[in-house]
């Protein structure tokens, strides 16, 4: 189909950057090369980052599994529980406590 003539159209070709053919081709080629390089680099970085994350997670798990268990923790908790129990109990005879104190002072 014949293109419809457009008498109102203003010639914008002086603004067309592709008129400078060599510069235009160089620009297009440079864009493609740079984009391909950056994409490759990004993929490589993502791959390495993912590998590093997996590696550090594995190392963390191994360390956690191989580390000696803190044995005293359970006993300390027990003792703390006993002390609390004693301090909050009200069946302790205060005179007995005083006697103890006096006896000690003497």
């Amino acid at each position: 189909m014949e293109p419809e003539p457009e008498p109102d159209r203003v010639d914008l070709s002086p603004l067309d950057p592709s008129r400078d053919k060599i510069k235009w081709q160089t620009s297009s080629a440079r864009i493609a090369t740079r984009a391909a390089e950056l994409r490759k680099l990004r993929r490589k970085v993502v791959r390495r980052a993912a590998f590093a994350v997996v590696l550090s997670a594995a190392a963390g798990i191994t360390l956690w599994l191989s580390a000696p268990k803190p044995r005293h923790t359970r006993a300390t908790h027990h003792r703390q529980g006993d002390m609390l129990d004693w301090a909050t109990r009200d069946n302790v005879d205060p005179y007995e406590l005083l006697d103890l104190g006096v006896g000690h002072a003497q």
Partner: protein
């Protein structure tokens, strides 16, 4: 051999084929430039922004979910980058020499200057439409889809933009107002 469609090129580019990158740049760089020029109004700035935005778009080609709509996706990236550059330029506000002028004759430089001045008096959407249509040969349907407008609106914007351009150019340089034909 039949020319690959944009969707095929985008799919190939996603697979990492450098030749597809090359072809996409060759076919769509002018659209990017037209949009950047519509926003920035200065050819040298438009050239820089169009190239940077194109590199960024190709680098993130995996984000282009609909390969058939690559043009619309690309010009959105270019427009955003150009708007950012415009903000930075407002802060900087230097009057740099247009390096394209070095490649053109004196008459061309004057005509380019008049055209740019006339374009700067249009609204941003009119500039974008007239540049994409008359500089890069976009169809109304493509413009409508990429810009999210109806075809009728695009035609109206183009008509108004051309009329304003002609009026402006007649005032600036009556002998340089040229007629053309095309799609």
């Amino acid at each position: 051999m039949a020319e690959s469609t944009v969707a095929e090129l985008v799919t190939r580019a996603k697979r990492g084929e450098t030749s597809a990158f090359d072809e996409l740049a060759r076919r769509h760089l002018r659209s990017a430039y037209a949009v950047a020029l519509a926003v920035l109004g200065r050819p040298a700035d438009a050239d820089d922004v169009a190239q940077d935005a194109f590199v960024a778009a190709l680098e993130r080609i995996d984000d282009c979910r609909d390969p058939a709509r690559f043009s619309g996706w690309l010009i959105r990236i270019v427009r955003n980058r150009a708007l950012n550059a415009l903000e930075k330029r407002k802060v900087r506000d230097t009057d740099e020499l247009d390096d394209h002028a070095a490649h053109t004759s004196f008459g061309d430089v004057a005509l380019r200057g008049h055209l740019l001045e006339a374009l700067n008096n249009l609204s941003p959407i009119q500039r974008e439409i007239v540049l994409l249509h008359d500089l890069d040969g976009w169809k109304h349907a493509e413009l409508a889809e990429a810009l999210g407008l109806s075809e009728t609106h695009c035609r109206q914007h183009l008509f108004t933009a051309r009329r304003a351009l002609r009026a402006e150019l007649s005032a600036l340089a009556p002998e340089e107002v040229r007629h053309g034909t095309g799609t």
